[in-house]
């Protein structure tokens, strides 16, 4: 699509844009370094017409030790969506706040602070509780947090809930003779 290529050519000289992925005609993902991100966002919003911040979220790549923030911008005129990735250090995640550019960004940053522990210095009400109240564990959306184990440990679970591996279960349902302890004539 020409819009995405044009755009990346236009900003490619000033910004270190990498990993461009044209997912579909109206959606392009790319990556910029952390120090250039907010400057590029501002330029995209003010000069390139990407005025709508659809959302801001984070992907946890625990095996690589990074967080990847994703800013999803939309241009209403060309109807093109841009996903801007920014890598953060997972152990010391901190990012510049964009609450001055979009009003709803403050809420997203609050959520990321609570769910991943990413700091956004200067963002308003950042440390207020967002969804969780009295949370005393590591931020729950981080990959190392095991929600099932936590739930079993803290919220009393009732007896009688059986968990079946769907694959095993279906194998038993479909090919009962292949299992060792198949009931007689069961199908």
């Amino acid at each position: 699509m020409s819009t995405a290529t044009d755009l990346l050519e236009r900003f490619g000289t000033n910004y270190r844009i990498s990993e461009v992925n044209e997912q579909k005609a109206d959606l392009t993902f790319f990556k910029v370094p952390k120090d250039q991100a907010v400057r590029l966002l501002r330029e995209l919003r003010d000069d390139a017409g990407y005025t709508h911040l659809a959302f801001l979220t984070n992907i946890d790549y625990i095996e690589r030790g990074i967080f990847t923030l994703n800013y999803m911008l939309h241009n209403y005129d060309t109807r093109h969506t841009l996903g801007m990735h920014v890598d953060l250090d997972r152990d010391n995640a901190e990012m510049e706040s964009i609450h001055n550019m979009w009003a709803q960004a403050a809420t997203y940053q609050r959520e990321l602070r609570e769910m991943y522990g990413i700091r956004f210095p200067g963002s308003p009400r950042l440390d207020d509780d967002f969804c969780l109240e009295g949370w005393d564990q590591i931020p729950p959306m981080r990959k190392e947090f095991d929600t099932a184990a936590f739930s079993l440990a803290r919220f009393y679970s009732r007896d009688g809930r059986g968990t079946e591996d769907p694959r095993e279960h279906m194998k038993q349902q479909l090919y009962p003779t292949h299992t060792d302890d198949a009931p007689e004539g069961g199908n």
Partner: protein, 230 residues
């Protein structure tokens, strides 16, 4: 759960800070008078709850129970997704008003707390407060499988799994989500229970007060309210 380094944890060693308006502070009235306020002391009654005896005569108690059964006032508190099927219940299709059921907007005037679906920890705290503010013969109905054993959210880190550990439940209604017909059947079942005098959850709650409080405090970490909210 794996033990991670503490840097991301919220600080639990120190107390969860009280909200600003909950701390003791001074208020200057418009006429210049300065008033000391300690919200946690002044706004609540610290008296522990007590068991309420039944009426002395059985026939009177039966009559009262009959009236209670036919005048169930539900607290208008949609705690979860089950609330969406409570609306058809109160509208022409099913019209629960026929059975003396109506919404009350304040817990003081309600007898029946319907926990409509999953309870997050944050809502649990409010549900407990609402329950404790309701006047005494009060009933709790758990709606949907999420209140029974967690349902779909059995492994969620923010929803409780077994509701009867926290409040005395009189009746569970199963389903995800329960249809209005089931709600109706459940309410009629509850009526039967009340008429027979078996729905005494309020007294059960008081008798096992310590156990319930221990369970509640185990889950609710920032307990910034008195033990019993009148």
């Amino acid at each position: 759960m794996k033990d991670m380094d503490k840097s991301f944890k919220k600080d639990t060693e120190t107390e969860f800070p009280l909200r600003e308006e909950m701390r003791p502070h001074q208020v200057t009235a418009p006429d210049g008078q300065v008033i000391d306020i300690d919200p946690l002391q002044d706004y609540f009654c610290q008296e522990p709850p007590k068991v309420h005896a039944k009426s002395y005569f059985k026939i009177v108690e039966d009559f009262y129970n009959w009236a209670r059964a036919h005048s169930l006032w539900i607290l208008g508190f949609g705690t979860g997704c089950g609330a969406i099927e409570m609306r058809p219940l109160m509208t022409p299709r099913f019209d629960a008003y026929r059975y003396g059921i109506q919404w009350r907007p304040t817990p003081r005037q309600a007898n029946l707390l319907v926990i409509s679906g999953y309870l997050s920890v944050k809502t649990l705290k409010r549900a407990i407060r609402a329950y404790e503010q309701m006047p005494a013969p009060k009933y709790v109905v758990g709606l949907g499988s999420c209140t029974i054993n967690g349902g779909m959210y059995w492994d969620s880190y923010n929803t409780i799994n077994k509701f009867d550990e926290f409040l005395p439940v009189d009746l569970y209604i199963t389903g995800c989500m329960p249809r209005p017909e089931v709600l109706m059947a459940g309410v009629l079942e509850l009526k039967k229970k009340i008429k027979e005098g078996r729905a005494d959850g309020a007294n059960r709650y008081v008798e096992n007060f310590e156990w319930y409080k221990a369970n509640q405090k185990r889950v609710i970490k920032n307990w910034n309210m008195p033990d019993y909210n009148w």
